[in-house]
Symmetry: C4
Subunit: 190 residues, 4 copies
């Protein structure tokens, strides 16, 4: 695909052809993000109660918007990472599957936030789920750096910037866990 593809050894579990792993990951992200909205159902109530019923769906819309935004940010990070790679290895494939394992659980965590945003446990589970996605994402960046998977023509300044930026979102979510034990709503808006 790229001019320096040939510099990466082609093996049974590694090679320069990262497209399929990217598209498989895109499909999982796309399905998980679209399914977030599926649980929000149009209220089946008489016309005069419709306005009120929609207003009561605010926690569901808030949880959907927050999860979609965070998942979108992780997808952008995944997109950014794979554009910089000259190839993949078996280890990267396994880390990527672990990332997608937690991405697929996002609907559960979002549902938990929509239903239980007034409890510490509900908020902790949500923050933990997003923190786990972010932690595996950070692991993937450092794995690629340690195993020399970055393209040779990548500006080291860009890599440095990306490396610093990757752990920020998971850190925010993980740090919000202790806050949730004191006040669920403070953790949610932190």
């Amino acid at each position: 695909m790229t001019e320096n593809s040939s510099s990466f050894k082609r093996g049974l579990d590694s090679g320069p052809d990262t497209e399929r792993t990217m598209f498989f990951s895109d499909a999982v992200f796309a399905i998980a993000m679209t399914l977030l909205a599926v649980d929000i159902k149009a209220p089946d109530v008489p016309p005069d109660q419709l306005g009120q019923a929609i207003l009561e769906q605010r926690p569901e819309f808030f949880a959907y918007a927050l999860s979609f935004a965070v998942a979108g940010a992780y997808w952008l990070s995944h997109h950014r990472l794979f554009r910089l790679l000259k190839g993949f290895t078996g280890g990267l494939q396994r880390l990527n599957l672990l990332l997608l394992f937690f991405v697929a659980l996002l609907a559960y965590a979002t549902d938990m936030l929509a239903l239980h945003d007034d409890t510490s446990l509900g908020v902790v589970i949500y923050a933990a789920a997003l923190g786990l996605i972010g932690s595996v994402n950070t692991l993937m960046w450092s794995y690629c750096r340690r195993h020399g998977l970055f393209r040779d023509d990548v500006n080291p300044g860009l890599l440095q910037y990306a490396r610093v930026r990757a752990p920020i979102t998971p850190a925010v979510f993980i740090l919000s866990i202790p806050i949730a034990f004191v006040s669920p709503s403070a953790a949610e808006y932190s």
Copy 2:
């Protein structure tokens, strides 16, 4: 990918390689459009009531057909836009995620129309949802024009035509909102 790819600077958040953003968007569109039909269930009624039960599903089939057609038109517009681009930027990625955020809500809006097409609020929410998708779509076209993202070999006449055509669908849906306050069914067929 294309002959003028190299004319677009490769950065951390921008570059000439738009394939992955296209395929991710395609996956979200495809899932959102396919899920529109999932809420229409075969009626679980005795054989002699089956015909009547299917006839009563007309609003659901109508809402599905309308939403599928409009979403299909927006997908075609997205397809048209990305074919004309020489690259992407971080701003375009974020606008695209905003578009997909509203596309994923299409099932909610469609359900709302199927259940509440006899109320102003139901029709307004449907029109607003489709109008929002269309507005972000129009924003993407003007963003690409303002930031010089169009390929240099694109016929300016085609671009002009596309620019004029992009806002028509959202305008129809947004204009139908005030009509919905007077008569829900008029807005639906306008």
Copy 3:
């Protein structure tokens, strides 16, 4: 993409780059086919009734297998068609969206067969849905032939064979409709 790409004029609604339409279609086919199995739920019954409950799911498994096989055959036909094309037009895009519109309704039709395979109406709706997918498929083949969309290096014998083969599946389903009025189970196995 292919050696004769340049022979096809690049316009706003047409061009040689058919990949995105293929992948979008693949996503809709894949989702529709996978969702066919989603409605078959593991029976939530006491252990001693599990065997019996699974046996009673036979119509659901039969309907899933039949729909998956037919949808798979249509996907193969779609795959075959697009490999022979040198480009797409706006008309082909619209026919393709119409095809996907009916593909997305496959879960409804399959559910209908699983629930109402003992009624003429249930079987007719199923046969009609599959017949409609097949008819649009046949229309696409003849549209491409009439508009000169086939690659110049395609063996005319292959094209002739494909043209003859395309309408067979829809014909079988459409012909089974009158049989369903006499005997639902004969139509199902014809």
Copy 4:
């Protein structure tokens, strides 16, 4: 796509262009794997029962994790196989659709394990479903070998290793079936 593409004859049902079959398969795998998590719903209980309710979801999380891991392993095997191919045939397409047929049933089998892991029948059905996916996967490897579909530059040692590795996972699942008749939980952890 690859340097030895031209060595594979282009026919109506065969050719060197395996991308579309790969991406279609990826979409089915991605949807089936993401849907595994969809059935795990956030418990809708009062706050003081939330902790207990989540603990009671352990069998669901265990079944999700096991199925995701096994499906991920099969996706890696599919990825590995297609990277080694110089083309596809109609027979390979049909075997691939059969594989995807069983992959789409994974949600059913997983649900069965989550609900009935304390019965022999529940565990047998789960093991049989995973064993069937693995058996078709093994069939695909041997089909490709018998029909000379492997690229000429593939190291025979790698192929030999892959051939030996492919049947191991299905064998484990199929061998666990008789164990399930004696003790469901032993089969599950074997």
